[in-house]
Amino acid sequence: MNAHDPIVGQAITFEVNGEPVSVRAHPVTRLSSLLRDELGLTGTKVGCDAGDCGACTVLLDGEPACACLVPAASAEGRSVRTVEGLANGRLSALQASFLEHGAAQCGICTPGLLVTATALLEKNARPSEDAVKDALGGVLCRCTGYRKIIAAVMEAWRHDGALDRRLPESGKAVGAAAVRLDGVPKVTGAEKFGADGFPENALSVLVVRSPHYKARFRLGDLDGFVQKRPGIVAVFTAADIPGKNCFGAIPSFADQPALAENSVRFRGEAVALIAGERTAIASLDLAKFPIEWSEEPHTLDPCEAAKEDAALLHDGRPGNVLTKGMVERGDPDAALKGAAHVVSGAIETAYVEHAYIEPEAGFAHMDGDTLVVSACTQAPHMDRDDTALVLGLPVEKVRIVPAATGGGFGSKIDVSLQPLIGLVALKTGRPAALAYTRQESMMSTTKRHPASMTAAIGADTDGKVLGMVFSGDFNTGAYASFGPTVANRVPVHASGPYLTPNYRAEGRAIHTNGPVSGAFRGFGVPQATIIQETLYDELAGKLGMDRLAFRLKNALTDGDETVTGQRLESVGILACLEALQPHWTRALAEAEAFNAAHESRKRGVGVASCWYGCGNTSIANPSTIKAGISRDGGAMLHQGAVDIGQGSNTVIAQIFADALGVPLAEIKLVGADTAITPDAGKTSASRQTFISGKAAEKAAKALREKILRFANVSPEAALAFEPGVVVVREDEAVRRIDLASLPADGEGYVFSAVETYDPPTLPLDEKGQGKPYAVYGWGAQVAELEVDMKLGTVKLIKITAAHDVGRAINPLLVEGQIEGGIAQGIGMALMEEYIPGRTENLHDYLIPTIGDVPPIESILVEVPDPEGPYGAKGLGEHVLIPTAPAILNAIRHATGVLVTKVPATPTRVLAAIREARP
């Protein structure tokens, strides 16, 4: 609001959670900001400031409203209820139900859901599923896939609010469906996400961004701009960056400036920072910022960008090719030539936005000469290293204290605002705070790579796959980010989990002036799987084989070699496909019966598989876990595997507890603060349960051994903790270790251990042969749906998902991953298409709502992996991979046509139907 407006400071008196309050504010201030900024009620989240996400829902005189759309003046005399007002000394029945059902993952949408559902339950204590969906249709969740939310609301009436955490006894933690250990703050509103802990005196930071895809720019009189505006403290540009103005997730490809120097390569690129007092920044008109743009021709199309005469985005990357990946085995051309049946096709996919409900946010401040950054993140140590590099600080002078992260899905691995707020704090000495707007988040951070792929697959008359060739161009946007990872991961995985003796797959990452494509759940594999699995259906059709039987026939089994020549063990794909067989048979029969009776609507059933290597591809990927026994008898687990909602705080602790031999309830978590917790790597590549879990297992065992050795007992001895004492029991003998009487290290630990685990992989040779991953996870899904043949709309009926997780460390969290991954797969298949400059909000860019995710039946398959902790394999990305191809295959089953460009919007589905039946 205008700082000079005399009406700033109008008193607004209302009731919040039963307490009268009076606040001075401009009457047009959004109620969300009044609650958060003036009253400190940060449980009300801001996800879009446009009514598109519902995260800010509060009850206004008992009725749900988006607080971001309510003028402060409208609160006058009314009663406002926020998430902080739901618990009354103890959790409400609904809050407890949410936790027990695993309905909260990252937790950023949870307050909005709880508040909205509370209003429903107050009118209708035992709502139907449809009533729940109708009530919650306006609150988006990106993690859970909504099914557990529906269950939690429908079952809330059973609860009295007494939370059953289902904490397992000693030795039984692995495999227990324990309620997530970090859950309670997510349902009370106490959780502090990136934007929830800004210091009072922090400077607000505004980022000036390019409105153009490609342009040169000249900055004008910045000092004059600052001086003319009271409350504006400084403007910073590339010239102010003390270090190397270049960051990137993969250091050898780093190419992105924190603040652009003279020219920009994509719309949304940061060019300057304005720091000022909060009210001054809020009333700042950016249109007056002194910058002169000269726009230049750009391309968003990788075909154009790859042409010989195309302008290069980066020196040294001819053809705008960032990198290529290739895997070749046998003689695929000869195999296809000799195959009885060959199918080929082309598929295109769109930019997909991560659309976590929490836009990037955080603050930075100086602690002596150490820069401390507290922001949402998936990779605190990478943030530390990149921020230190850009700001010219030694890494030990940068400390990352991760805020709770409201969803990441890959995009919060790259740094975003960390170096920017870091620069302001470093230069001004004052805390600096920034929360991206939704538009800013969407335009400036990474996306899933749009892919343009072709492939051919051949089989013999018995239905054995003989060979496959694949070629995929991936639009990597303006900067490298994880483009190389996509180009390399795709060729390794494009065969699907099927024995493919002759194979060639090439992936190219090509620069354009589009948004930076980076990491997004699956690193290109979800795209590649679409073409492989849709061609498998076509091949089965040519062979006259049942589509599931064809997959069963070709599924990899123990002892087989992958396309990279890796001999496998503990292969779970066959078990997953077999588990789906009865569902497949039922679904096909039901669809057939339905279709016999209906003309304008047709049902279809589709199946698709996945395999996915856990951890980095062929390069070192260690996790380190530290733990100690404090003098007061606490078992402290320094858990650096950032929990962005997926559950590593719980899963790592479960592994640790069993390996240490103590009850899960005894474990105390120490967060992923880089100053006190060693590097457990980034939360990506489905690596935390496997790699950090293994490191936790090793650390627990080492710690246990130290205690047992001190107590001079055998490995069978049992441990228990009492205040200040470790009790060691072996048979009848009991030994009490008085911790207070023993020396402690600098951190106050009497016993401690630090262990690192790095999965054993081997490099890929020039033909992509080697052992890229130590562990793979497997899965397959069946999609059942109905297509409206007149409108091209698709209604999902059910998804059945069988996933081999090796060992389900926490089955509730496994289901949560499956359901959430499927929801994102549904979005990718049917509605998500990010168009730069056009869909920079959550009403033009659509993600699934609670009404778009059908019932999901999860089948947990456990084929233990000898390498993984307690046999566990990774899961987080796998779950998304089969969904889109299974849906496309089901659409084809229903309609007879394959949609070759995703998302399969009603326009595209109907066009395909019309083309096939003119």
Binding site: D5, A65, P71, G138, M831, L846, T849, A911
Partner: protein, 286 residues
């Protein structure tokens, strides 16, 4: 100097409107998204203090929907079957959160081609009541929305009510919304139909409107005329298949192609027709 005012009477509001240019703040559901994170640049006339503008009432000749009446107010107010299309549309406007604060009139003032309220109000022959210090005037809805984001509101004027002539609340009605997801979605296309069946069992009056397939939602007079006198069922459906829908001029956008919209419009009109006629196989569009 940017002004803010929250009058408590309509007269006070009209006086202010006569003094300066104002942006009107009612439900806020279009106001705030349009403002984004920029500072205010217009005077703001907050009409949320005008209690007299809220609620559904009746005069001898009209059902009157006050300008501050929310979608939820409308859903909860008992109304004859001719309003079913409007109530169905009300449940599809944004989310419950939006319906609780957004006003029916605001949906028209925002003049989006995809305004969910427009087709259902068109089939009710709705009129828009405008007031200024100088007096009041009434415009048929077709003449109120002039184009994409353009209305006939003159400086100094404010919409005070939407009025439905009682002569137009005969028959029953139905609304169809086509979107790319289940909830909280901007329509690709939508249709509303109100049908009056005569004593001979034939269609006596047909009123049909389509939204999001032209800059402003359109009535389909050619189809309406073709339907009159036909029997519900196959005869009526043949009439839908036979006319051109020349009133529509759909465009390509992120939600759908022009071609797609043209075909879909016909299909959802058919379904709205079936719904209004109470035919059992009416299918939900999306």
């Amino acid at each position: 100097m940017i002004r803010y005012a929250k009058p408590s009477t309509l007269d006070e509001a009209l006086a202010l409107l006569g003094e300066a240019r104002w942006k009107i703040l009612a439900g806020g559901t279009d106001f705030y998204p349009a403002l984004g994170n920029r500072p205010l640049s217009d005077n703001v006339l907050d009409i949320n203090g005008l209690d007299e503008l809220r609620g559904v009432s009746e005069t001898a000749s009209h059902v009157v929907i006050g300008a501050r009446t929310t979608w939820t107010d409308l859903i909860r107010h008992p109304l004859p079957a001719a309003f079913d299309a409007l109530k169905q549309a009300a449940r599809e406007v944004g989310s419950v959160q939006i319906q609780n604060v957004a006003s029916v009139a605001g949906n028209l003032c925002n003049a989006s081609p995809a305004a969910d309220g427009a087709p259902a109000l068109l089939v009710l022959d709705a009129e828009v009541e405008l007031r200024s210090r100088a007096g009041s005037r009434m415009l048929p809805l077709q003449d109120f929305i002039l184009g994409n984001r353009r209305t006939a509101i003159e400086p100094g004027e404010i919409v005070t009510a939407i009025r439905i002539p009682k002569a137009s609340i005969a028959g029953s009605s139905s609304f169809q919304k086509l979107g790319a997801r289940r909830y909280l979605v901007i329509s690709i296309a939508m249709a509303a139909a109100r049908m009056v069946i005569g004593t001979d069992g034939r269609i006596e009056r047909a009123v049909i409107a389509v939204g999001a397939c032209s800059a402003v939602a359109q009535r389909l007079p050619e189809l309406e005329a073709a339907l009159v006198g036909s029997r519900p069922g196959r005869e009526a459906e043949q009439a839908v298949a036979a006319v051109l829908f020349a009133e529509l001029s759909p465009i390509d956008d992120v939600r759908g192609s022009a071609d797609y919209r043209r075909g879909a419009a016909r299909e959802i009109v058919l379904r709205a027709l079936r719904g209004a006629l109470g035919e059992a196989d009416a299918e939900i569009a999306a």
